[in-house]
Symmetry: C2
Subunit: 250 residues, 2 copies
C-alpha cells in the first residue's frame, strides 16, 4: 500500500429553509456520504444553510478552501427562492447569465412557448462552469472550480451524482468491517480503548443499538485504508469480544 | 404584534464519523428542526462534524457566538470515540471530571460493581454545566452557556429535548400555511416572485413534488410571525393559483 496517496476529501452543503424549518426531512446527506465513501472520497463536514445569499457564499467559500470537493444540493429550481446558482457565482466572483447549452437542455423537455422567465432561471449558470446533465428532468446542475451544484430533489440529485462520479478524483477506498459485541457499550469500552490506542492507524467506532431480542448490543466498526492493518486490529477486536462473552457468562 | 421581540435562533451540531461515512443515517436534524420551529426557535444552520476535538471546538465556538442556542447530538457514550464532552469543555476553557450528580444518575440503572471506567466516562461533565436528565437510560446530557449537549440515539435525544424545552427562551412562533399550486413550479414562478416582492415581511417557499396522480405539482408555503401579514400574502397566493388554473385550462 502506498501511504503517500493523499486522501480525497469532501464537504456537503445543503441549501434550503425547508430543511432548517424541519418541513422537509433531508434525504441527501446520508446518500451522498455513503456514495462518496464507497468510491474513496472522505466526507469531512456537512453544513445546512438557509436561502440567504451571504450565508451560502460564506459557507461555500469556507468549504471549498478546505476540501477537495464541495457537493451542494438544493436551490436551483425556477422560483424566486432558488438562489444557489447566483450565490455560487457571487462566491467565485464571476458573472451569471442564461447559458445557451443549459437552455438547449431545457428545450428537450419544455416547449419553447412555455420557456418563461421563471423556467429560464434554471438555465442561469455561472460563467466558466461545466454543466452536469439531469437525465430526470433536464434542468442541469453545474460544476465550477471544486464545487458541484446539484438539485435538491433526491431522484434528480442521485442521477446528477452518477453523472459526476466518473470524473471525480478518488482516493484509496476506506475499508470497514463490523462485528456485534454481544455486550453493552460500557462492557467493551475499556478493552476497546486499549485496542484503539495500540492501532493508531485504524479508526474504531462503537455504536450501541437494541437487538432483535430487545437487549442492548453494540456494533464495533473498524476502518482503515490498509487491509492488513484492518485485519490485525479486527483480530484483536474479535478476541476481545470472545473474552468479554466469557467474562459476562461467568 | 410586537415587532420588537427579537427572534430566538439556534444551530444544530451533529457529532459523528458514522454520519459522515453514511453508515448511520441521521434522524435527529429533521426532528430537532421541526420541534424547535414549533416552539418559536428558528434553526439557522446545521453542521455535521467528525470525532476530532479541534473540529468540534471550532464548530461549537463559531455557532455559540452567533446563535441564541446550539443543540449538539452524539458522542457522549462510554467509548474512546465519544469525545463531545471533553471537546465542549475545551471550547469553553473549563475543566472536566466525573460529576457526582451524573454518577448518582448512572447508579440508578447500573450496579456499582459494573460502573467501570468506560461507563464512568458518561458522568464526565464540564465544570459549571447543568445536567439534562435522561429518562431512557439515565446517562445525562448537559447544558453549558448556550450549548445543550444531547445523546445521538434518537429516542434518548428526543427525551432530552423534552426535558430542556420548558427552560428555553422562545420567540414568537413562525406561522405557516401551505397551498398546492396544482401546477408545475415553472408555471407559478413569475407571479410568485411578484407576490414575494410585494410582501417582503413574509417568506414564500416553493417546493415541487410528484402528486398521487403522477403529475408534477408544487407546494407553496407562506411563512410569517404575523397572522395578518400571513393572511394578506396567502390571499394573493390563492388568487394567483386560481388565475394560473384558468390560464393552464385555456
Amino acid at each position: 500500500m502506498n501511504d503517500k496517496v493523499e486522501p480525497v476529501t469532501a464537504a456537503i452543503m445543503v441549501v434550503g429553509d425547508e430543511i432548517l424549518s424541519g418541513r422537509t426531512k433531508d434525504r441527501n446527506i446520508g446518500y451522498i456520504a455513503e456514495y462518496l465513501t464507497g468510491i474513496g472520497i472522505d466526507v469531512c463536514e456537512v453544513r445546512v444553510v438557509p436561502d440567504i445569499e451571504a450565508e451560502i457564499v460564506a459557507a461555500v467559500n469556507a468549504l471549498r478552501a478546505r476540501y477537495t470537493y464541495v457537493f451542494s444540493t438544493g436551490g436551483i429550481g425556477p422560483t424566486h427562492d432558488d438562489i444557489t446558482a447566483d450565490s455560487i457565482a457571487a462566491a467565485f466572483g464571476v458573472t451569471i447569465d442564461v447559458d445557451p447549452r443549459a437552455r438547449a437542455m431545457l428545450l428537450e423537455r419544455i416547449p419553447e412557448a412555455e420557456l418563461n422567465e421563471a423556467r429560464l432561471r434554471m438555465a442561469r449558470i455561472p460563467a466558466g462552469a461545466e454543466l452536469v446533465a439531469n437525465p430526470v428532468s433536464k434542468a442541469p446542475g453545474f460544476w465550477i472550480g471544486n464545487v458541484i451544484v446539484m438539485a435538491g430533489v433526491p431522484t434528480i440529485m442521485q442521477a446528477m451524482l452518477d453523472e459526476v462520479a466518473p470524473k471525480l478524483k478518488t482516493g484509496i477506498r476506506m475499508l470497514s468491517e463490523t462485528i456485534p459485541a454481544n455486550a453493552k457499550e460500557g462492557d467493551v469500552g475499556g478493552p476497546l480503548r486499549a485496542i484503539a490506542q495500540a492501532h493508531p492507524e485504524v479508526t474504531i467506532g462503537s455504536y450501541p443499538f437494541i437487538g432483535e431480542d430487545g437487549r442492548p448490543n453494540t456494533n464495533l466498526v473498524v476502518r482503515s485504508r490498509d487491509p492488513e492493518k484492518l485485519a490485525a486490529a479486527m483480530d484483536e477486536v474479535r478476541r476481545m469480544v470472545a473474552e468479554v462473552a466469557v467474562r459476562l457468562a461467568s
